[in-house]
């Protein structure tokens, strides 16, 4: 059963029949985390790097921002029995429009925010595929932690 993770959304699951999927990442970033022992996984699709932009919105929906969404993802997984040291972490998305050097380069800024937050959590990234000007879709199979990535226009491939 596909569980769709929308823009500014997060889903966690321990149901072996479920597949978490997030379409169209653009400059947004998708972080998939899986604990192979507890067999629980989560997928966060955040849009912007910093919640200080609008704290009211962050409170209403912490999954919109990296600095509120990532802690929420770790917390939700730990509540389900996941242990940080066992977590497999996948990071993807963070694309940018051509010629988008400094101004409004949300893709790049999202990538930096993820690096900073994950190092704060002392979590290592197992697989990272970010940047470029492509649109990506990611899915995570809860039964075994398999992750599949698709660049729009291409087929899904296992990562």
């Amino acid at each position: 059963m596909n569980i769709i993770v929308g823009v500014s959304d997060m889903k966690v699951s321990s149901d072996p029949d479920s597949v978490l999927i997030s379409y169209s990442l653009g400059s947004c970033i998708g972080i998939a985390i899986y604990d192979p022992v507890a067999k629980v996984g989560g997928l966060l699709h955040f849009m912007l790097p910093e919640s200080k932009l609008d704290e009211g919105k962050a409170q209403k929906n912490p999954f919109m921002f990296a600095d509120t969404g990532i802690p929420a993802l770790f917390e939700a997984l730990c509540d389900m029995g996941a242990v940080k040291e066992r977590m497999k972490v996948i990071v993807t998305g963070g694309a940018q429009v051509l010629d988008q050097k400094g101004f409004l380069n949300i893709g790049k800024r999202n990538q930096i925010a993820v690096k900073e937050l994950l190092s704060k959590y002392k979590a290592e990234i197992d697989y990272e595929e970010v940047g470029g000007n492509v649109n990506r879709t990611i899915k995570l199979l809860i039964k075994n932690g398999e992750a599949w990535l698709k660049i729009s226009g291409q087929e899904f491939r296992e990562i």
Binding site: D99, L104, I151, S152
Partner: protein
């Protein structure tokens, strides 16, 4: 290179714009039009009337009472809102289908078109730019050319992808190079065939700000910024991804700070679900 003339013939396969839309757009453009004139025109078209009432009564508006007539809906929601609904209705027949060449699932192009139209209209309104209904409609229809070009993009995708990678050009330039025509051009030709205004045709043709766009055209700027923000958010981004150019000077001309644009993304990020609900009622 493909047979461009044959592609252009496919424009005729698009579902034509209903006559009532032209009349509604004419009314919307006049400052002295009354709400009751607008309702009268819409009620001549029973299918449109039924559809609009369904949308009015959907969760998107969350109205306390059910609307039984367009007159009531116009009085309750205001003219602008009802005009927007009529305009949204005009694109749906063509834009709802999946566009395999662009790797867009069913409804994706439609959802993106509606969101970018709402965003462009907000920009026009907040910056006091010209005709907000023109901006809304142009943003809504700007990618209609993709519907015509989709199967060709699918056939030539490997070549398109290769030239983008090797020559650092945009997806639109690659379409032009490999297929012989790009989706913005095809879209503007469709708009011409539908007798839409010259301004609409121009904005659709130039919505990626290719060569020769008028830097002082603020209506075009509003459409462009909305399109770019949607792309960054991943809305409607298919196999063409984010392979279009960013023009910071347009953002400067509109006096947007980076924070303003991020705020707009955050606000529209919250509205995605609302628009999905609205479209599922269409």
């Amino acid at each position: 290179m493909t047979d461009v003339a044959a592609i252009l013939k496919d424009i005729d396969k698009l579902k034509p714009i209903p006559q009532v839309t032209h009349r509604v757009m004419a009314i919307a453009g006049k400052t002295l039009s009354s709400a009751s004139d607008l309702a009268d025109i819409i009620e001549y078209d029973p299918a449109l009337t039924a559809n609009l009432l369904k949308v009015c009564n959907s969760a998107f508006f969350g109205l306390a009472r059910k609307m039984d007539s367009i007159h009531q809906a116009v009085a309750y929601l205001g003219m602008d809102q009802v005009v927007d609904m009529v305009l949204m209705n005009l694109g749906s027949a063509n834009l709802k289908r999946a566009q395999k060449g662009y790797d867009l699932r069913e409804g994706e192009l439609w959802k993106y078109s509606v969101l970018s139209a709402l965003m462009a209209r907000d920009i026009a309104q907040s910056k006091g730019i010209g005709d907000k209904h023109l901006v809304f409609t142009a943003a809504l229809l700007k990618d209609i050319g993709k519907v015509v070009l989709s199967s060709h993009v699918r056939n030539y995708f490997d070549e398109i992808e290769k030239v983008i990678r090797e020559q650092d050009i945009t997806f639109r330039d690659a379409e032009k190079l490999i297929i012989g025509i790009d989706h913005a051009e095809v879209g503007s030709m469709a708009a011409e065939k539908w007798n839409l205004s010259g301004r609409m045709v121009d904005i659709i043709r130039n919505h990626h700000l290719g060569a020769g766009w008028d830097e002082d055209d603020m209506e075009l700027a509003a459409v462009y910024v909305a399109d770019t923000l949607c792309m960054i958010m991943g809305i409607g981004a298919g196999s063409d991804g984010l392979a279009y150019r960013f023009h910071p000077n347009v953002v400067e001309k509109l006096h947007f700070s980076e924070t303003d644009l991020q705020m707009m993304m955050a606000s529209f990020g919250e509205r995605i679900q609302e628009v999905e609900d609205l479209l599922s009622n269409e």
